[in-house]
Symmetry: C2
Subunit: 552 residues, 2 copies
């Protein structure tokens, strides 16, 4: 028998954690860290080169902890390997500027995307990889196990039990990876209660949490999914009508995810008007995986929606959500529970359709939001915007995309790109080559940062019409179909009118008139709500929009 490694110690992680806690013991009172001592505490428990998760989520930010981390002395804490789902805060990148951190694994960077590009170029930052959200969580359990996890919640008790409520988001997935691998879990909360009974409920058990600290101010949260109906244009209404007739009705789409665009907001807002007139209520759009979009309120109130499971919350929607427990996921205390890991799972495996928008689509249908100088990442789109090969249960919509008689044929997830042919500012959406390809080459990335690959896209919907890409028999045919709906962009100008006529009659593409959609009807008057005030009214006064949306 080969001998075992002599004298190997098997609890080095546990001992390292015990040492960290020893270092922190002079500062913490039990599990509680005094607010003013957080920087000193982080300096005490962190080691150079640590792998540190900071909860920067799509909405919720552990910003007290990230601001505090950016204040530690780089002489004591440096070379950290940061794992941040959504790099959204200035201080996330200050960490790299100050030398506190060196390597970054992430999923999405909105406001910080330009700075990441600059830092990469300046050699201040090394990117591990860009992921889709649940792919990043998954790696926390395999080859990116964290040493320290910094998260945010509303309330904690002194035992570390956490109430994360409507903004649970990524927290459970991030905490579990550390709590069960001898990592250190530190939670900032808005309030620490003395009596556990004062927690509305427990979202994360105290057994999983090592320290809690009351933040200097409530955690930052961004209302990313709020779209003011005032900004919805007639072209969005036209495209929404096409989506309902040409995709949702045609394929009997019952479960779906919507992105954050004005296009999909328009779909939500014409269900109670246009959708109703088509007699589609109860037949389409029943089960949703998305955040509580305010523009979904009229569809909910008119009985279209059976359920909504959410990645995160949406500021101002909390009272409305709490008053609609038949629709939303809420706890015994009455407040909402979100969960990005499970909602991404649901959006991947349990829904008929993903519909999203993008900045650039090439002639093959590949798309990306990465443009020159902006390393914005992916978020959840690649996960929901592909055909999950592991799916085995059928639904009418999924089966409807089978185009052969092969007994081994399987259905397909509907993946719809809904874009205007030109972006604001006159830049074409359809391009010869995506900027993402150049960005990859210039920055030495092993892969071009493609958000959704062309072979995963089943429909492209523009103001010109719908290309039913899943019907394409070849890559060449797919290209012709895309060109046919790409308007006067460089790709669109390549289209051959004779081919387009043939594809129309073959049902490969459809123009509004082929779908029975009247362009003259596509006006804002079809919108069930035309302003934020209308949404508040629909909600019976329960929806309380954030200040910046209160323009009425």
């Amino acid at each position: 028998m080969t001998s075992t490694t002599p004298g190997r110690q098997w609890n080095t992680r546990r001992e390292a954690k015990a040492r960290r806690k020893q270092q922190g013991a002079a500062i913490a009172q039990g599990k509680r860290i005094p607010t003013g001592d957080i920087v000193a505490f982080l300096e005490a428990v962190l080691l150079p080169g640590d792998r540190v998760v900071v909860e920067g989520n799509n909405q919720k930010q552990a910003d007290f902890l990230s601001r505090s981390l950016a204040q530690v002395s780089p002489g004591r804490v440096n070379g950290l390997h940061m794992i941040i789902p959504s790099v959204s805060r200035v201080e996330h990148l200050d960490l790299f500027e100050r030398g506190i951190a060196r390597k970054l694994d992430f999923s999405y960077a909105g406001a910080q995307s330009i700075r990441i590009s600059q830092f990469l170029e300046d050699g201040l930052l090394e990117v591990g990889a860009i992921h889709t959200y649940i792919e990043l969580y998954a790696r926390l359990y395999v080859d990116l196990v964290p040493n320290v996890v910094l998260i945010a919640g509303y309330k904690a008790d002194r035992d570390g039990n956490l109430y994360t409520g409507p903004s649970t988001e990524d927290t459970p997935a991030l905490v579990e990876a550390a709590a069960f691998r001898d990592g250190l879990v530190i939670a900032q909360v808005n309030e620490i209660v003395d009596d556990p009974a004062d927690l509305p409920r427990v979202d994360v058990p105290g057994s999983w949490v090592d320290y809690v600290v009351q933040a200097d101010q409530p955690f930052f949260c961004e209302p990313l999914f709020t779209r003011d109906p005032r900004l919805i244009k007639p072209v969005h209404v036209l495209m929404a009508m096409m989506a309902i007739r040409g995709i949702y009705e045609r394929h009997q789409v019952q479960s779906l995810n919507h992105g954050i665009g004005f296009n999909t907001a328009a779909i939500e807002l014409i269900l109670p008007t246009y959708g109703e007139s088509l007699g589609l209520k109860g037949k389409i759009c029943k089960y949703w995986t998305l955040n509580p979009h305010p523009t979904l309120i009229p569809a909910i109130e008119t009985g279209w929606v059976e359920s909504v499971h959410s990645f995160g919350s949406e500021l101002g929607m909390e009272p409305y959500v709490a008053a609609r427990p038949d629709i939303f996921f809420t706890g015994a205390d009455g407040s909402m529970r979100s969960n990005r890991a499970f909602c991404q799972l649901a959006g991947q495996y349990a829904v008929d359709l993903f519909i999203g928008s993008t900045l650039q689509i090439d002639g093959d249908g590949h798309s990306s939001t990465v443009t020159r100088g902006r390393l914005s990442g992916f978020g959840g789109a690649p996960n929901m915007g592909h055909n999950p090969g592991g799916r085995r249960h059928p639904t009418p919509a999924w089966l409807d995309l089978i185009e052969t008689d092969d007994p081994l044929a399987r259905g397909r997830k509907l993946v719809v790109q809904m874009v205007e042919t030109f972006q604001a500012g006159g830049k074409p959406t359809f391009v010869e080559s995506m900027d993402a390809v150049d960005v990859a080459r210039e920055s030495g990335m092993p892969l071009a940062p493609v958000m959704i690959y062309g072979d995963d896209v089943t429909h492209v919907l523009t103001e010109e019409g719908i290309a039913y890409l899943y019907k394409a028999q070849s890559i060449e045919e797919r290209r012709r179909m895309i060109a046919a709906v790409a308007g006067v962009t460089p790709i669109g100008l390549k289209h051959d009118p004779a081919q387009t006529r043939r594809m129309r009659s073959d049902g490969l593409i459809a123009l509004p008139e082929d779908l029975g959609v009247q362009r003259s009807q596509a006006t804002r008057s079809l919108l069930a709500a035309r302003s934020m005030a209308d949404l508040v009214e629909w909600s019976g006064g329960l929806y309380a929009p954030p200040a910046r949306f209160r323009s009425w």
Copy 2:
């Protein structure tokens, strides 16, 4: 503005739950149900037609609750829609025989697969769909939201806080769907403790659990992943050597999932011998997503393994796991934590390779374990055994499968089918047409129950050789490659020796000698452990095999 549904009530689920609890109040003492009253309690709180999740997992069974449910009066409780991840218990199907249940959604049925087929034929049971595990969990948040969830844990306190420990498995994913949608959560435990401090830790917060009941005996748990090294044959060793040289070493496979076959057990057992002799330690097989296989002990003890994240536990391995916290996921209390949802996610998105076995493979590479009269389902294989289109992070192995210069090319998950050309009993593994196709037609299923589709398989490994299917330029070429390694099965007999020679020299297929694997070396003496007793010895006496494996 279109008017809202007049007078609609938005808390019908919450009120229904309150009514159920009212019905149960005469029996329960707070959250505690007396053991002897469980049948009466279930009759009190359940309604005909309810959607009920029973925790039948791959290992752990909420068997006290399922046995009790099978005893309710069908006059009071009937037509239930059961959701059971793994249909493993006789009483799971007794429910249908007695008319208590009518519809079944599930993922896997091992021992009960024949009876499901019979019941389907007899019209006693209607199958909703067969899913992969996390696809089934995902639907709990979309269109299969449960009314009642019946689960199992080791311990609870009187507030419902649960310790599920090494056997956490599916529990959190099942509970959350009910706890946050006004469903009823009932947990059986082996012990109810008076003092919350007597729980080793909290795996599921009491806020999520409505009732706990002490079971009449500890929950049933099956040691599904224990393979006695005594049963590993030289042919398994040969195939294991080929896997290591021809796949793991060649593609630099660092993170992986192994199935439960003797083939993969052989791989685990020759890492410390054959793998060591090739100088591969630290270069391959570092990060694992699998249950604590006893046959992995020698590789762990010799320093091959950096981490193991698990779907569930394995009976007898608990003390060993607890003594190796650097390798396994364990809580602050020292005992293991498993989590099937996260491990399936990790197995899908975070590992380089999935390797599994099957009963039938057709000429196109499609495979299934469904054979005539056995509706066995899928378990986790379809999820881990496909190329996840949402993956965006590269690893050396993933990138190594790119075969073009296209800047938009992406890598691939390695999906390996490792099978002997004939099954025990002389049935060919490679067949003209899978039984699954006939089963689907005969039982009116909309889809043939294919476990892994041919286009997802990158390698087929038999005792004859390896077919590198990812290199195939066409379906015809893929067929030829499969035939070349299919031995004297009907598929294998079709192979053309001249073609095989060409494919060998082109590197499309490889025989043992092409890989530098010496058949003469393929003996049981290469196994680091050749019996259960050897495994116990390797573990330093920490591993305590279940009685049936103690044959030495």
